[in-house]
Symmetry: C2
């Protein structure tokens, strides 16, 4: 061992001991005949002192140390005269007696500080240096503690962690998959799992009763800020359960994590909201409930008064931003610009201020009498000083989604989205299907293995679009942190589901025959849930992106810029795999 203690360990009680530390040079300072070195490791920082008078050679050596040099230092622990109360080791210092430079370092391309001078790109290229920064390392430490707690909780509830294979079959239903050519089976491919969905269901058929796995999943999709081609799921499944059992179990897990990792006691049961209400009142299946501004529908109040935009609308709805009547004309113009952005897509924004005297002044005053505007005010229960913001449109769902964006933006502007406040809820009663314009058919909203609500099963034949599912998502602060469903365990119902989804019996058999076959041998009722580990860690760490809680993330093009992958293979490797790459002219340019 190169050290007797870590750099975060020494206290007043150690004064007088002879110790050896090893770590990285954070900073050196010369003051008079003394040189001070801050030595850093994962556990903390300890001040080393080199005394010119005592040992000129050693002090000279210390003066030559550069940032991030790796050194081993032996000496006596001394009480500091000027203590540093901001540092756990701030009461002591190490009077260096011997030093061994274990490795030198080039000057790092950015400062190893919480507030680094390095931009995103350079920090990603030198991710191994970026990870030395305390603020980044803490995310990985939190991730470790979270997985330990998840396992502790699930183990105590009788769950078994069972590893499912990574090299499985391709299931085109769902997101695009990564495939893996098999050398031993020329011309054939494995696929990497988007989730172990069907495998965990097979484990239920096999009687494992309670399964979990913290497991890597893969999705070859165009990447947005909070997506990665590989991500980690806390994947769970239980037998002989109903929706309520699963909600209880995993609400319990969430509360356990909040308590252990954030010290937050969530005593109350989480709110439950049907999907239809979430859409109606928040325009989203993952509403951020840290703040109000519930949608109010205004067709009855505002339609038919001669304002053509509203008179022609199929939906009029608004939110009331408390205390925002003081918004200037310019601020309101900016909000109008915001909702008109292509990503939001509204045509315009109507506002109404509730003034100090209770009167309402709106941007469409010429169409509405004060009496109507007072009805409007009453609808929201608005008070003097409030600002009502209204959108309308042809399509209720589209307009609600626009209003959702506006609501979130107002929440942000008014400081209502506090990272240290947590609003948890279950969204339940999801529709079983949604219509795909692209595919011109019904698609499974969760996945084809989701159990329809018992009472809606008769509708499968007549009005499938109205069938609700035994499906549920957990939403925290507007982020979907997990979701799941009760699964179908009856092979006939599963076959019917594939039929509604447009599978021929042959296609269903080809892709999911193994599962439907398994259901014929005594499949128990079962259901489960998957939590997104990356999202949970980001949430607890207060991060804006999941990228910062992943040791070596990929960029938006799916590249690891540190490793510089993916790369081309040589022809020998391709031959062994019975493969040829066929590039379009545009791709060839891209590679050069």
């Amino acid at each position: 061992m190169y050290r007797t203690h870590t750099c975060g360990e020494l206290r007043l009680a150690n004064v007088g001991e002879n110790v050896t530390l090893a770590g990285w040079v954070q900073r050196t300072r010369k003051m008079g005949g003394m040189t001070f070195v801050d030595l850093r490791d994962r556990y903390g920082i300890t001040q080393l002192v080199f005394n010119q008078d005592k040992d000129a050679t050693l002090c000279e050596q210390a003066n030559r140390l550069g940032r991030e040099f790796v050194v081993q230092v032996t000496g006596a622990v001394n009480e500091r005269s000027a203590k540093n109360p901001n540092l756990p080791t701030g009461d002591i210092e190490l009077i260096a007696e011997r030093m061994n430079v274990l490795n030198e370092s080039l000057t790092p391309p950015f400062t190893i500080e919480d507030e680094s001078d390095g931009g995103d790109d350079i920090r990603m290229k030198y991710r191994y240096l970026d990870l030395r920064r305390t603020c980044v390392r803490k995310n990985l430490e939190l991730r470790h503690r979270m997985t330990m707690e998840v396992r502790r909780y699930l183990d105590s509830k009788g769950f078994l962690e069972i590893e499912t294979p990574m090299l499985i079959g391709s299931t085109p239903e769902g997101a695009r998959e990564f495939v893996v050519p098999s050398r031993m089976n020329p011309g054939q491919f494995y696929a990497l799992p988007q989730s172990p969905q069907t495998l965990k269901q097979l484990l239920m058929v096999s009687g494992m009763d309670r399964y979990f796995q913290i497991v890597r999943c893969f999705r070859d999709e165009d990447l947005r800020a909070d997506r990665q081609p590989e991500f980690t799921q806390i994947d769970c499944e239980m037998s002989y359960v109903e929706q309520e059992d699963i909600i209880q179990m995993f609400e319990g897990m969430a509360k356990h994590l909040f308590k252990e990792l954030r010290g937050v006691e969530l005593a109350e049961p989480f709110l439950r909201m049907p999907w239809s209400d979430a859409m109606k009142y928040y325009g989203s299946d993952k509403p951020d409930l840290r703040f109000g501004m519930r949608f109010v529908e205004l067709m009855d109040v505002l339609k038919g008064h001669g304002f053509p935009v509203f008179d022609n609308a199929n939906y009029i709805g608004g939110i009331c931003a408390e205390g925002a009547a003081s918004y200037t004309r310019k601020q309101i113009d900016q909000l109008t610009e915001f909702v008109k952005k292509p990503q939001v897509g509204a045509k315009g924004l109507v506002y109404a201020r509730v003034e100090a005297d209770g009167n309402v002044k709106s941007s469409v005053d010429k169409f509405y009498s004060q009496e109507v505007l007072q009805q409007l005010k009453a609808k929201f229960g608005a008070n003097p000083g409030d600002l009502i913001l209204i959108l309308s449109g042809d399509d209720a769902m589209k307009t609600r989604k626009q209003l959702c964006e506006l609501r979130l933006e107002m929440g942000r502007q008014l400081g209502l989205r506090d990272k240290n406040k947590f609003a948890c809820l279950w969204v339940v009663d999801f529709p079983m299907f949604e219509w795909s314009e692209e595919e011109q058919r019904l698609m499974a909203m969760h996945h084809p293995f989701t159990h329809p609500k018992e009472e809606d099963i008769p509708l499968l034949d007549t009005k499938p679009e109205e069938v609700r599912a035994d499906a549920y998502d957990m939403v925290v602060n507007g982020v979907e942190v997990g979701g799941g469903s009760i699964r179908i365990h009856d092979s006939k119902l599963q076959a019917k589901m594939f039929e509604i989804l447009g599978f021929t019996p042959e296609k269903a058999q080809e892709q999911f025959g193994f599962l439907m076959n398994a259901f014929k041998y005594g499949a128990p009722p079962h259901g489960g849930l998957a939590y997104g580990l990356d999202r949970w860690v980001s949430l607890f760490a207060g991060l804006d992106s999941i990228r910062d809680c992943i040791a070596f993330p990929k960029n938006n093009s799916g590249r690891d810029v540190m490793l510089d992958v993916p790369t081309c293979l040589d022809n020998k490797q391709l031959d062994e795999l019975s493969l040829r790459t066929v590039l379009k002219a545009s791709d060839k340019e891209q590679i050069q």
Copy 2:
């Protein structure tokens, strides 16, 4: 919840309670007016009783239950008159009052019993039924408990579990890799990791200090009985350590696992054996030390007495099998056949029996006087009743490996390889390099990142083949359960290593530039180890193959016969990946 208790839970204390169980029908028996059903779940078996007189309809329903039907039964817990002491629930039974058939089952293709009537192939195809067998399920339960204990131990020692990416770059040095085409980077590929070796080293550069990960690894190799294309490693790395620190840490972990999972206290430090001794005395770098039969070299005794085979040999060595002098001529002929098998490759076998009177009788008596044979006996310290078995050959190493096979076979025949006995050792001081006949160059015996022994570094330039490495394997019962090394942390030494291994500087930069670059920014001294999880579980479960401790293993052709993968992709998928498959005629036939 479909149940109030599990099928393994009820005891005498529950008598009189009204309970609901759910599970699988293991067996039904009609006796007089009663029907008995054994109901099974993961937790145990409970006997259900249906009484013809009490409820004829219900009893009739029970009589129609088939094996593996899934039922839910409510009734009162009753004390059995005929108790079953072999069952934890054997004191009670459930007097059924209501039953709900949750799912039916076709007759399973094999019996769901420890001693099943199903062959390997059918059990693999219906693996979800195979997993219902208690003996298979127990392996997965053990695996779960082992990973929990591993994490508990490492967490208590300050290790952080950090996930490293699965989509990384191709590193042709080492086993053959699986590759993954990137849709977003046409013509380019990721590779799946054979191990996170370089990534964990980068984590040490990043100051993570103590890392571990229970991680899936991939190897596209021809598969033997104890190999799988995907397998799981307990991967560990530490900074500021020397070999001794790592050995202490992971010997501690092994002892922890033995104690917690097998109730075996291993008080003594594990034996340590230099690689050269392991080869010399056991012909293997993973000797099975549950029994003796150490090799004795016999050139001095047996050469030059006119027996041409020995006179021309460069190596003569033997083992002494205690008490095996009673082997018949036929048994010895079978041993001779054994060593002459192509997998072993010896030309013949010489034996010498120590008879009751102390005289030695050998198969080559005409060349050797009793005096020489007595010297032979003395060399082994052999006693009356012992059997000496001798091999010879041109090449010492090859002959030792043959003798190793013979030793293991004798250990097996003499019942010395007891699955409940554990002999643990560290093999240390491995050679840094080995000569590859195929590649006609030195190859790294462990991997190119292994640190040479400090005192052997001068030999790198002069006699690289004599350089020993700071590398170590843990061997239990002749199985290599883990191994590791101190790593190079100096970019110049690493560059020299690549040079000796025949890399041009450009090639080294292209493949490992990210690592050598990282070493320039203050890499700490570090080292680590990887344990094979599958092997540990097999060892503790007393399995002959790792396959039985994996939920869904692949067969020797890398196929999952349950999922029926790998499969062909359709052209649309291949187009998106900018790929074409190029099959040889022979491959085409294989697919059809």
